[in-house]
Amino acid sequence: MNETATVNNHQDEIENTSTGLSNKKLMMWLFLASDVMFFGAFISTYLIYRGKSLNGPYPSEILDIPITTVSTFVLLMSSLAMVLALHYLKENQKNKATLWILGVVILGAIFMGFQVYEFTHFAHLGLTPRTNIFGTTFFILTGLHGGHVTIGIIWMIFLAYGSHKGTLRSDNAIDLEIAGLYWHFVDIVWIIIFTVIYLISANDTPPPGAELLIH
């Protein structure tokens, strides 16, 4: 790596702003801090209503841990692809950067494919957002996460195009970096969802007397 590239690596850190920090990056961190509250609201809503569905299907009958484990792995690897894309862009290696951004797009699309499959499968098994309180909280939380992933994929497609065309370069790598922050945030939200909804709740059975109450 030559000296110019090394300097470019840190351009975003020596911004000529009132704070000395990149305004774009600061804005993204503020957004992510607020998004914590957004997802926190839906995760806590899920937890409040956990195990209180009066009719099935219940999580123990429907959640498929092996499939979700694979989709979790795919999303984690997309984060790896994202950070590698940023590294190569800062290194002025345009082709490698473009390829890794496309890697993020593909892995994100695979993750969404898993989610579409899961939603469709659950609907066939009789679980929709209207079926019970588990269905409502589950679909809203995972659906909103899926929405975030979809926005991230669209953003990455634009960035991949920019990198390919040469408009996204090492001197404006901050644009990819803030997209990367968003993408990694979506990943850490899924880390929590996977643990709380899938692993912890997967064996949730109906509350005592639930079926009697409904009749």
Binding site: V7, N16, L26, W29, K52, S79, G180, H184, F194
Partner: protein, 146 residues
């Protein structure tokens, strides 16, 4: 009015997204490795791209493998749920926390970046955790009373 808007939303009048370019090409800030201590110098050189950059592909791949291993451990814990009994949920939460920290610190570069970004994100996390923990506590208490 135009001047006021400019002062509020524009930095040096360059527009929303066309923020000023870096004016000074200062040399690298002091080297920051992901792990402290001179005794780890060789390891640091390996994982941080020779100490020239924050971290290199090898380090990111190591973090990726680490994340995959933790995920496998989570699923293993899931298979052993009945044996783990009351330890099951704490173990899963600790494993999730380790993954969370690894992604935030290394992939989101908070470990290397200006501390102000860490404070911004941590403030959201702390407020969120406190508010929603209280909400869960109150909700569960009300359910138990009923």
């Amino acid at each position: 009015m135009k001047k006021l808007l400019k002062k509020l939303f524009y930095h040096d009048g360059n527009g929303w997204w066309n923020l000023p370019k870096n004016m000074s090409l200062k040399p690298n800030p002091p080297y920051e490795g992901p792990i402290g201590g001179p005794w780890l110098l060789r390891l640091i050189n390996f994982i941080t791209y020779g100490g020239k950059s924050h971290a290199g592909p090898r380090f990111y791949i190591i973090v990726g493998v680490f994340l995959a291993i933790i995920t496998a451990l989570e699923v293993w814990a899931f298979e052993l749920e009945s044996q783990l009994a009351i330890l099951y949920i704490p173990i899963l939460l600790i494993l999730a926390l380790i993954k969370f920290i690894a992604v935030v610190a290394f992939y989101m570069h908070l470990r290397f970046d200006n501390r102000f970004f860490s404070y911004v994100f941590a403030s959201g996390m702390v407020v969120g955790t406190v508010v929603f923990s209280l909400l869960l506590f109150i909700s569960e208490s009300a359910y138990m009373i009923r």
